[in-house]
Each structure stands twice: as C-alpha cells, then as structure tokens.
Symmetry: C2
Subunit: 446 residues, 2 copies
C-alpha cells in the first residue's frame, strides 16, 4: 500500500489527510499537541477564523464541506463601531455572498474524525517532529510524554507543521541555497472572549464581522456558535497606545472605556479577562524551495502570513486542492507533482502575503484617509456599472478562485488607474459618480 | 578578572580577541575547525581577500596593522582582460591609494598569534558551538574529536561564527520577534589557483586586481605572496553559460579557451584543476536584533553579504572598531554598549549589503552598457574638478570611513543626479566633459 506521512495535524494537515486517504494512501499524522478532541486545550492561535470561497472549494472537493457548514456562521458584511458607538454596515460582496466564522478547533476535529473514519489514517499525538530526512522520506519523532524517539519512513512526506515548521527549520533551512525569511510586523494581538448573554443570545449582530477601527490599532470580533464572540485587539507592541502601555488592570480598564465605549458596556470586566489569552506576535514567513526529495511544505509552513486579509487558512486549503489537481495531472509521479506544485504555487504564496501586508498598511495608515475612502466608493460604483470590467480586489481575493498572484497584480493596476483618474478631476469629491469619471476609468482600462 | 567568550576564531573573532585582551579581559575562543596554523586545511571560503581603508583602521587601532602589512600586496587598480586579450587599466582611487590582497589564513594566523601572545586569550579548537544561553552568557560546546560536551559561562559572549552562525541559528532565531532572512543569489563561485612561473615570478601584473568581465559571468584574480594568483569564477548555477554546463573536462577546457584566451594560455591544465575547489553559493543574511542579553553577533554572523564590493571582512573589522569605541563611551556597561551597537550598526550592515548587491547587479547587467560607462566617465571627470562636492561611490566605500548607510544614500542621490543630467543633453556622448554638463550637475547638487 502507498504510504504518506503528515507532520502537523492542524487545519491543513488534517484536511490533506482526507485527500490522501481518498487517493488510497495509508496516512500517518504526527502531531505535537495532545488530541484536541479529548484535551481541554486550545487549538492555538486564533480561536475562530473567517473561511471563504477558496477554503470552501478545497473542503467540497473532498466532500467535507457540509460537515464544516454545520458549524459555520455566515458574516455578510462588516459592522464598524465608532467612538460614539455608532454602527456602519458594509456588505462584503454581492447579495448572498458571505464569509464564514468557523471555530479552529471545531473544523480541525471534524476533519480528524473524517480522516480516521476512512480507516486509512492514523493520528499520533504528543509526537514532536525533531528532524526529517527529506530525500528518503523519514520523519524523526520524539514523544513529549515518554521521551521515546523513533522514526517513520514513507513514500512521501508533507510538512503542515505551521509557521514555525520543524521540518523547515531542522532540515530545509540547512539545504544549500534555501531562501528563507521571517519578518515580524510591529503589531501583536491579544484575544478576548466576549461571552453570550445569560440566555445564550448574542451581544452583537451575529451575521457580521465587527470592527472597531481606531487608526493605529483596532479591535475585531467574530461570532462563535455558543453566542459568544472571539475578539482580537491588534496594536503595536511599543509606542503610545501600545501593548506596552497596557500593563496594569487600571490602564486596560481606562483604555477600553475610552476607546471602545460600546464594547466596554458589554464587557465591563475586560481588565479581569485581559490575561486569559497571551500577547502574540505576527510574522510573514517566506521560503523557497517548498519541496525537496520526498518532502513538501504546505500551509503556513510554506507561506505563513499576517491575518489582515483572513486568507491564511484559505490559502493553505487551496494548497490542498492545487496539490490534488497536480496529483491527477501527473498520475502521482511525485517528483513531477512537487516540481509543478512549488513553481505554480510559490507566486501565490507570495501573493497572499503581499495582499495581507498591503491590507495591514491600509488598515493602519489609510482606513481613515478621506481620499482612500473616496477611491473605494468610486471603485464600488464603477464595478457595479461594469462588473465584467472591474472586480474589486476584496472580491477577487475572497469570493473568487483567481490566483492570489493575479489578484495582487490586478489590484495594483486598479489602484494606479484610480490614482490617475482621481488626479484628473480637481473636484473629484463632487463628480465622483459622474459619467466623466466613469469614462476616464474606461479610457485607462484600455 | 573580566571574562569573555568568542564563538568562531575566524577573521573577526581573532581580531576581536586582540581588542578584548587590550581591555583586560580573559578571553576564550571556541573554534570548530582545527588550528589552521598547524593543520594543512584551508581557512574556508576565498583564499585571499581585498583589505581596504576600514579594515586597516580596525587593525591599526589595536596595533596589529603592521603585522598584516608584512603580508599585504597593494593593488592600485583593476586590469580588465577582454576577449582579444587586450588589457585596460583603471586606477581604484587617487595616486597612492590601493586596496590590498591578503591571505585569509595568513591574517587569521597572525591575529591568533598576537592574541595568544598577550597571555590572556586561549583558543580551543575542534570545539563546535551547539547552543547558547544568550541571557546568561553560556556557550554550549561539543568537541568534534572526542564528542565531549561542555559549557562555558562568561560575562559577555561574542558570536563571530560566520554567515551560518550557530549562535544565531540555535538561539537567536528562536527568539520571539527575531527578524531573519537568508537570500541566495543566482550565482555561485569556484576558485582556481593560477600558479607562479617556475622561477617563482608572477604570471600577471602583481599590483592589480585582474578581471575578465564577460557580461553575465566573470573571472577575477588576486595575487598571493608566493607568486600565484587565486582566481574566482563567478557565474550562474543554471542556464546557458552556467556552472551546470561545465560538468565535463572537455566543457571546462573549451569554455576557458574560448572565453578567457589569455588566462587559458597561462593555465592550459585548467580542466584538471577545476575540481580542486568546490562550487560554492553566495547569500545575503540579514537579521535583527544583533544582541540579546549578554550576547552580540559580529561580522558575517550579523550581516553576511555577497563579495562584489570586497567589503565583508572590512565591515566585520569595522564592527570591532565601532564596538571598541562604544565600550569606551559607555565604560563597558554592556547592556548600553550592545543597545547602541546594534542601533548604530544595523543600518550600516544593511548598507554594505545594499551596496554589494547593487554592485552585483551593476557587474551583471550594466558593466557593458555604454550609457553606464559614460555616466561613470562623467562622474569621474566632475569629481576631479570638484573633489569636495563629489566623492565617487567606490571611494566612499573603499577609501573612507563614511558610514556604509550614508555612502549608499549618497550613491543613490548621485545616481539620480546623473540620470537627470544625462537626460537633459541629447548629444551627451559629445558634450560629456563640457561646462554645460558640469553646470547642470552643480545645479542639481544645490
Ligand atoms: C490571529 C490570527 C487570525 C487568523 N485569522 C484567519 C482567518 O480569519 N482566516 C484564515 O483563512 N486564516 C486566518 N489565520 C491564519 C491561519 O490561522 C493559518 O493560516 C492556519 O492555521 C494554517 O494552518 P496550518 O495547518 O498550515 O498550520 P497550523 O494551524 O499552525 O497547524 C500546524 C500544526 O502543526 C503542529 N506542529 C507544529 N510543530 C510540530 C512538530 N514539530 N511536530 C509535530 N507537529 C507540529 C501544531 O501543533 C499544529 O497542530 C489567522 C492567523 C492568526 C494568527
Ligand atoms: C568568495 C568570497 C570572497 C570574498 N572577498 C572578500 C574581500 O575581498 N574583501 C572583504 O572584505 N571580504 C570578502 N569576503 C567576505 C569575508 O570572507 C567575510 O566577510 C569574512 O570572512 C567574515 O569574517 P567572520 O570572522 O565574521 O566569519 P568567518 O570568516 O566565516 O569565520 C567564522 C569562524 O567561525 C567558525 N565557526 C562556524 N561555526 C562555528 C561553530 N558552530 N562553533 C565554533 N566555531 C564556528 C568557522 O570555522 C570560522 O572560523 C569574501 C567572501 C567570499 C565568500
């Protein structure tokens, strides 16, 4: 029987296991943590995530979409909360389009269940990968409870062990001519659980992603199935209004009361809950090659990104559907599959990172800029009139299967067009929805 | 007595040991290799290097300059060898200015001798650093001959263990928010020893750096004391005219005969000598922070670069003189010294890398471009007339102590000025040394 090893049974590893069982592989997954389905542990990082079109496709291709749909909450737009507690709603896409809030642990557990139920996949917990023989497909393991060291050889190895991949660090990074970078941004994040009302109902509109944009920092909230919201505060580590200034209960209390008044009303005990989740950092990790010998990196191990486009998991899931297509195309001739996988997919890994980083800067530096908001308004207006000529960048990324690298290129082109057009009209604020502006855009497009 | 550990007794480590003994430290150096003064081994990487003004200053500050002068060969300019074996000479700087060819092993050995002679420095060979407790100043070692593991604690630790620093990889890279990148360029290099004539005399002019520029690849030669030259072929790993195409003796022979005819005449047995030195890769390594707790990175461990400006060692030596000045300034208050060292020096590490990479592209893409050569000619002409207004970039980097970061900025400014000025004159080829062009540059400078 064909055998495969997967290092890391997180979101991507557990989905990829299902794919491989479907292709008839005997799959062994090695996961550093205990079984999240049994243990009272968090699945790490953000507790819930936004799942969108690319992710759904990868789930549906292998028939696990419906299992995830059962626990997915649609969010059809964002609701912005200003300093005076006023709300503004912005739909994410067209009527009927939405992104979905899903629990990391919930999705992960369902995919583990499905993989195991095939009878072809076995998950080994508390098994830390400590090294890899990339060329011979050998994974070196150490059990964190017994300390026992052992190794497993298989036909093919997939490293989906996350942003700080042990396979990448211990083996790939030692290869000659392996390009690698890890770049932290100035901001970190801390999660906060906003509980449900006593009767289990939601404290905020459930079918939206909530944002409290405050210039250099922001709070967001995504709904959970139990009526609670998982909120995340993104802000710089250092400087004025930074995590460094929020070190006492009093400071936290004052900060929330003055900066997020409506949130504070819903959660006056925020200062007590402040330390429930750790302060975490955010990095972009790029590398190349993604494959060597019998081993391939997938998901965050290949292209971890900052979460400002909500695409990290979606991109990792898309890795699975791409790898799957290439398996068919090359009839499981792995050297060929791996070579095309990395050549095809690396630009899209870079693309999703460029897009995410761009959105970080947009949120950080432009979201309050009237020029920028006007530009978005004109784009939306034009796109509505000429949907076949202009798909807004957000929709390309979130609601399409256009390659990330393509979306990023088109997005930059669109941006340049808009800057040109807006510079042509002195009174653009007044004529933004005029035919003249429309024609100017059409002219630039040709 | 104050104690210091140095990991890596290469060029920077052995020089820094001399500095520390001068400051009254008991110094222990841990070097992975055997003693190069006893063993018949190469000191790794390039066999000789170009030493210039920054390097000399760092050597002289601690009184070891004269010991190195004894083995240094001045190169006052470059001699270009074209396809027809014609030679062109370009002086590097003004009358009397030169860069110096020195043997890596020779410089290293002399500095080891001097450090040991103080009675305060001890060098441990075959001791591989396998980890570091950055905060407590503990270096973990493993003897490569006996396998014995031990550890050493000292007041302060310096990691000068090169581009693939074990301290950086095993300890720094695991710190939260440590930024890191290793980027390989498309080119690799292979060294070739061009022996002396039978009577021990040089086969080429000894007081020059020889270059055979051939567009996408080039051969260079630096003199050794024994009459030989160490030559280095830089070329892409892959593609037409790449190392990949030079895999048979016949291919090597043909390539040298047709591409470097005068070199081939001097060394018709090139194909036999081809494998004497390995094919090696070239990377830029950037990281930050450079210090943590009691530990600081110096030299290539902090800022390895590609060799196209001949500044890697010089920059590492300059790290020593900068660290030394800060030791005096802060009275050896190491936390303060380290903080200012990294803040001050990081931009210059980036600067030397930007400069080196720029020169790689220049050599690769522009060195044959008539526009580019004309620009350099105009710059040289202008600089001669207005030396106080325009110091050519090469001189800033090689013959001055201007910070690398400043030189890089000034260089970019000069480049922009030249591009502007040249665009103003349609017949620039004819009027390049005219007063009009001179005045245009002067106008741009204001
Ligand atoms: C704050 C935040 C918010 C985010 N929001 C979104 C979002 O809204 N939408 C979205 O699409 N993405 C989002 N992401 C990105 C998303 O979390 C990641 O892209 C996704 O988790 C990647 O999945 P993965 O399986 O590749 O890695 P992971 O989910 O990190 O899984 C890696 C697995 O490998 C295991 N492992 C690690 N090391 C070893 C080892 N040595 N041996 C064995 N096992 C090991 C880990 O325990 C883990 O189970 C967000 C990320 C963050 C940080
Ligand atoms: C082809 C080429 C040409 C070059 N030409 C020039 C030039 O002309 N001019 C110039 O200024 N620079 C030049 N350079 C750059 C120069 O070689 C480096 O900048 C310089 O060697 C850096 O010195 P260092 O002491 O920091 O590192 P290294 O010289 O690399 O020394 C590091 C030392 O640490 C030891 N070590 C490594 N790991 C461990 C460990 N785990 N434990 C203990 N010890 C360890 C190594 O054995 C070595 O002795 C060139 C480089 C190359 C590759």
């Amino acid at each position: 029987m064909k055998t495969a090893s997967i290092v890391g049974a997180g979101l991507v590893g557990s989905l990829w296991a299902v794919y491989l069982t479907k292709a008839g592989y005997k799959v062994q997954l090695f996961e550093r943590r205990p079984d999240i389905r049994k243990a009272e542990i968090s699945a790490g990082k953000s507790i819930n995530l936004a799942l969108s079109t690319r992710g759904w496709k990868a789930l549906d291709t292998v028939g696990v979409g419906d299992a995830v749909r059962e626990i997915a909450i649609p969010m059809s737009g964002r609701i912005m909360h200003d300093l005076e507690s006023n709300l503004t709603y912005q739909p994410y896409g067209k009527e009927g389009q939405a992104i979905y809030s899903v629990s990391r642990g919930g999705v992960n557990a369902r995919m583990m269940d499905i993989a195991e139920a095939t009878g072809q996949a076995e998950i080994f917990y508390n098994e830390k990968c400590v090294g890899t023989d990339l060329e011979n497909g050998i994974v070196f393991l150490e059990n964190s409870e017994t300390g026992k060291k052992w190794e497993v050889k298989s036909d093919v190895v997939f490293a989906s062990d996350g942003a700080f991949s042990a396979v990448r660090y211990n083996a790939m990074q030692k290869l000659d001519r392996f390009n690698y970078s890890q770049n932290y941004i100035e901001d970190g994040y801390r999660e906060i659980l906003l509980p449900a009302n006593e009767d289990g109902s939601y404290k905020l509109d459930k079918n939206a992603l909530h944002i409290w944009p405050r210039g250099r920092f922001m709070l967001i909230a995504l709904p959970n199935e139990d009526g609670s919201f998982t909120c995340t505060l993104f802000m710089p580590f250092n400087g004025p209004n930074s995590f460094k200034t929020l070190t006492s209960k009093e400071a936290v209390d004052n900060f929330f009361q003055s900066t997020f008044p409506d949130f504070y009303t819903m959660m006056p005990n925020i200062a007590d809950a402040w330390e429930d989740h750790p302060l975490s950092s955010l990095a972009i990790v790029r590398c190349y090659p993604w494959t060597h010998g019998k081993t391939a990196l997938m998901g965050d191990a290949a292209h971890a990104t900052v979460p400002f486009y909500g695409q990290g998991m979606n991109c990792g899931f898309e890795d699975c559907s791409v790898m799957w297509e290439l398996m068919q195309k090359h009839n499981e001739d792995w050297p060929k599959v791996f070579e095309e996988y990395q050549q095809l997919r690396k630009p899209d890994g870079d693309g999703v990172q460029d897009l995410s980083l761009h959105n970080y800067y947009v949120m950080r530096d432009y979201v309050g800029d009237p020029k920028f908001l006007l530009q978005k308004k004109i784009e939306a207006h034009f796109s509505e009139k000429h949907p076949e000529k202009w798909l807004p960048l957000y929709s390309q990324v979130t609601f399409s299967h256009i390659r990330y690298s393509e979306a990023w290129k088109t997005g930059q082109k669109q941006d340049a067009i808009m800057k040109n057009v807006m510079a042509q009209f002195e009174d653009i604020e007044n004529v933004w929805n005029s035919e003249a502006v429309e024609n100017a855009i059409l002219a630039e497009l040709n």
